[in-house]
């Protein structure tokens, strides 16, 4: 029994070297150890891996020497019996042993070996980070598409594709994902529009239009005529002029548009009021550009502001108004006689009388007559019944314990009441005859049929300079009858500014209104600019008690209802119905 071992090796150039040797015996040891008949120099193979033994009829049995299996003809075995004549291949790592039978009966074992590759010159690329990281190109594409898709394509597509292009549309008709375009939160007034960009940004690539703003802000007053605005504006800075030139190319509406001053997306909160400089741009030297303006130049309340002017009734009995400059000498003609100083005195008869009346203090004070409006901003009209009549009584008769009083504000009624007063002594119709019993004077059924001459005298007296009406009113004649001049009083004096009394509550009235030294009702008791400047100076005046911007008193958009004669602060119509002169004066 002999095994013929044929070993086929390959040189580096690929040439085959075939070596043959014989192993005597019927057992063939195969493994990694050098003591084996066939040495398999592969580390994955056991030192003693397989034993091949020749058995009966030339059959060859292969058996694992250790506990590792072997692969024969592609199948794993622990033991297998084969016929060498039929061939077969035992695979051990990189080695292949093929079995056969020579013509002379020897069992042929052909040993071939695959070359193991060590190293790989291509591995040089493995040094680079590129072999372990996803490519730059892929990452760039992903980023590009994600950003363009989410922040550009979706909002634009959904904006163009929606069917109902209404501001405030909801659901599918709303522009999607455009909140990423918002540069900041809206002011509180516009908070409800926060997620509704298309409410203001109506057309793509068209700046926010005035008409869009005015769709909601219908009652906003115009500051001035648009052309006047353009003419009045001062020279622009180079940068600003350039910006407007560029903006015009892109279709902006111009410097007079709402959005020029009212910038949005500046964060939640109140919209910022315009700065003083915003006003002074035009008003500082406006007379040089707008020659026909009645307004004086102004750019800082503390240093450059015209003297204050008030709207007053110019002539007693007329509702014609005019503006007077508040220089401390200004007069108004209300048609009343009222010495403020006398009423505010703490020592005279007025004070004595006030002290005797339960509703008043030791002397009169302003608030005894001037009552606050509900908003504490201004004052209610002074009404004779509540303010004056406690002292200036209109009682003309007494029946039992009840006093009869004339009705104030209605001369005809007063006249009728006094004529009808039957207690004034009258000349009897007949002389020398006296009626008897209960019909005599003082009796229960007495009736005085005499002419009420004393009554007429009473009327004439009341309406005279020294009469009860003449105490406060200026007597006059109308249509041949005695009457008094109608009274007109302003409830506000400023045409282009507002004044808030509530903000000045901590001040005494007399620190602005010199009522305690005024002896005539014609004195216009309004403070001068200098008085205001004791506290108020311009916005940059750090040392002033109250640095004041223009917007503290002036509004860019004047609410124009304040200028109408029948504005809400006019007195009740019934109060003046009986006055003989114009129906709609002011008291």
């Amino acid at each position: 029994m002999t095994f013929l071992i044929r070993t086929i090796d390959q040189t580096a150039t690929g040439r085959e070297i075939v070596r043959e040797r014989e192993v005597e015996g019927d057992r063939l040891a195969i493994g990694r150890a050098t003591t084996n008949d066939v040495v398999v120099a592969d580390l994955s193979i056991e030192q003693h891996h397989v034993v091949a033994a020749l058995g009966e009829r030339g059959m060859l049995s292969l058996e694992a020497a250790g506990d590792r299996e072997f692969t024969f003809d592609g199948h794993r075995h622990r033991a297998v019996t084969i016929d060498p004549a039929k061939g077969g291949a035992l695979t051990l790592g990189l080695y292949t042993l093929t079995f056969g039978r020579e013509a002379d009966g020897r069992t042929l074992v052909t040993v071939t070996q695959e070359e193991r590759e060590f190293g790989n010159r291509d591995a040089v690329r493995g040094f680079d980070l590129a072999s372990a990281i996803p490519g730059k190109r892929a990452a760039a594409w992903i980023g590009l598409l994600l950003i363009l898709g989410a922040f550009l394509a979706v909002p634009i597509w959904s904006g163009l594709a929606r069917s109902d292009k209404q501001p405030g549309a909801n659901g599918p008709d709303r522009v999607a994902w455009d909140s990423s375009w918002s540069t900041g939160q809206l002011s509180l007034a516009h908070h409800s529009l926060e997620n509704n960009c298309e409410a203001c940004h109506v057309e793509p690539f068209v700046s926010v239009r005035d008409e869009t703003c005015l769709a909601c802000h219908r009652d906003i007053g115009d500051h001035a005529d648009r052309n006047d605005l353009a003419r009045a504006r001062g020279p622009m800075g180079t940068g600003e002029a350039l910006l407007w030139q560029v903006a015009e190319i892109f279709g902006k509406e111009g410097p007079e548009a709402c959005t020029t001053c009212h910038t949005e997306h500046e964060g939640a909160g109140r919209m910022e009021p315009a700065a003083q400089q915003f006003c002074s741009n035009c008003h500082a030297t406006m007379d040089t550009r707008l020659s026909d303006t009645a307004l004086g130049n102004a750019h800082d309340f503390g240093t450059a502001h015209p003297e204050l002017q008030a709207v007053v009734f110019a002539k007693v009995g007329s509702d014609k108004t005019r503006r007077v400059t508040l220089d401390g000498q200004a007069q108004e003609a209300s048609g009343l006689r009222f010495p403020h100083a006398m009423h505010l005195s703490e020592t005279n008869g007025v004070a004595r009388m006030a002290g005797n009346l339960p509703a008043y203090g030791e002397a009169l004070v302003c608030s005894d007559c001037h009552r606050r409006t509900a908003d504490r901003n201004g004052f209610l009209p002074v009404e004779m019944e509540s303010a004056c009549e406690d002292c200036h009584s209109l009682v003309y008769d007494k029946v039992g314990s009840t006093f009869r009083t004339l009705r104030h504000g209605d001369v005809a009624q007063m006249r009728a009441d006094l004529i009808a007063m039957d207690r004034a002594p009258r000349a009897p119709v007949t002389r020398g005859l006296r009626r008897p019993g209960e019909f005599k004077r003082g009796g229960r059924y007495f009736q005085d049929f005499g002419r009420p001459a004393r009554n007429y005298i009473g009327i004439a007296q009341a309406l005279s300079e020294d009469g009860v009406c003449g105490e406060c009113h200026i007597p006059t004649t109308s249509g041949g009858e005695a009457t008094v001049m109608p009274v007109f009083q302003r409830d506000h004096y400023f045409l282009n500014a507002r004044f808030d009394h509530e903000a000045h509550e901590q001040e005494d009235c007399t620190s602005c209104h010199a009522a305690d030294t005024s002896s005539k009702a014609t004195d216009l008791l309004l403070p001068t600019l200098a008085t205001c400047r004791e506290c108020h100076m311009g916005a940059p005046a750090a040392a002033a008690e109250v640095p004041s911007t223009c917007a503290m008193c002036h509004s860019y958009h004047p609410p124009d209802f304040r200028r109408r004669k029948d504005g809400p602060l006019s007195p009740k119509p019934g109060r003046i119905a009986g006055l003989p002169a114009p129906a709609r004066g002011r008291e």
Binding site: L43, F118, I133, K136, A139, I156, S179, S180, T183
Partner: protein, 298 residues
């Protein structure tokens, strides 16, 4: 001799000299820091004007000043990104690639000032701030890139010890071949450790492993530890084989460490481009979205 050369020749020589010396000059120091000075003055100018220009109601990308800075910044971004195309076309002109790169670095840094002043410090969760953030990240990654380019090539060269990368791989393969032969007498368990070590691919390291560098536990070190632990070596054939394997495993670990260190330095050198380039493209996208959206909702 001077008369032999016309003035023109002299000038040409001076030119060549200049170019030669320029070839040793870093792109950072190009033309005596010309672009550094340009960018520095520009940034200073922008900061000063930002403080001095009175914009109502406050600084904002939509004021005339904001639009000016925005236009300048957007132009710069596009031009800076153009380097990616410019560097692939080696067409020398009056602008050498080195000069271009120098300008890229310094003008890119000045963009920190221009872009940030353009925002007026009004930042929020929106596409506009996204563009600013991407711009800042791109600039930061570029700064990192410059700093590693300045320091790491020295370390890379030191680590190579005058070996090429091919030589490192070849050295490893030689060790492996010797190791396989030497390991033949080893017992099963030891042989399995050697097989695991041989099968280990040093280049299969992931991104994090590359940044960790050499010294990490791997199949080679495990095999080395296994074969060295608690063994008293004798002069017997088995012990001699084990000692030989152990020595080879030690050499293998050393070679792997050199390769790993090489990969680590390369990773540190190259990683910034994987941030810089994709973020630049993302920035261009965000910039487009920023500009279009501003005028779409004007």
């Amino acid at each position: 001799m001077a008369s032999l050369f016309s003035r023109r020749d002299g000038a040409a020589h001076a030119d060549i000299d200049k170019r030669r010396s320029a070839s040793h000059e870093s792109f950072l120091a190009h033309r005596a820091f010309f672009w550094a000075r340009v960018a520095g003055f520009m940034s200073l100018f922008v900061v000063l004007t930002y403080v001095l220009v009175d914009v109502e109601p406050r600084h904002n990308g939509g004021s005339w000043y904001g639009y000016t800075l925005g236009t300048l910044g957007a132009g710069l971004i596009v031009w800076l990104a153009w380097l990616g195309i410019r560097k692939r076309r080696p067409t020398p002109g009056s602008w050498s690639l080195k000069g271009w790169t120098s300008a890229h670095v310094y003008l890119g840094l000045s963009l920190v000032v221009i872009g940030t002043m353009h925002t007026g410090f009004q930042l929020g969760w929106n596409v506009h701030t996204l563009a600013w953030v991407l711009m800042m990240l791109v600039i930061l990654s570029g700064l990192y890139g410059i700093s590693v380019y300045a320091t790491l090539p020295q370390a890379l060269s030191e680590n190579r010890r005058e070996m090429t990368r091919e030589q490192m791989i070849e050295s490893l393969a030689t060790i492996d071949r010797q190791l396989e032969t030497a390991a033949q007498p080893l017992a099963r368990e030891d042989a399995d450790r050697v097989i695991a070590a041989l099968e280990q691919d040093v280049f299969a390291a992931g991104i994090l492993a590359r940044f960790r560098g050499p010294g990490s536990r791997d199949a080679t070190r495990r095999a080395l530890q296994h074969i060295s632990t608690d063994r008293a070596y004798d002069d017997g054939a088995d012990d001699l084989a084990q000692q030989k394997v152990r020595a080879l495993l030690g050499k293998r670990a050393g070679q792997i460490d050199q390769i790993r260190r090489q990969m680590q330095i390369k990773a540190l050198l190259e990683i910034w481009l994987y941030v810089h380039v994709p973020l630049t493209i993302a920035l261009l996208a965000a910039l487009t979205a920023h500009v279009v959206s501003v005028f779409y909702y004007w």
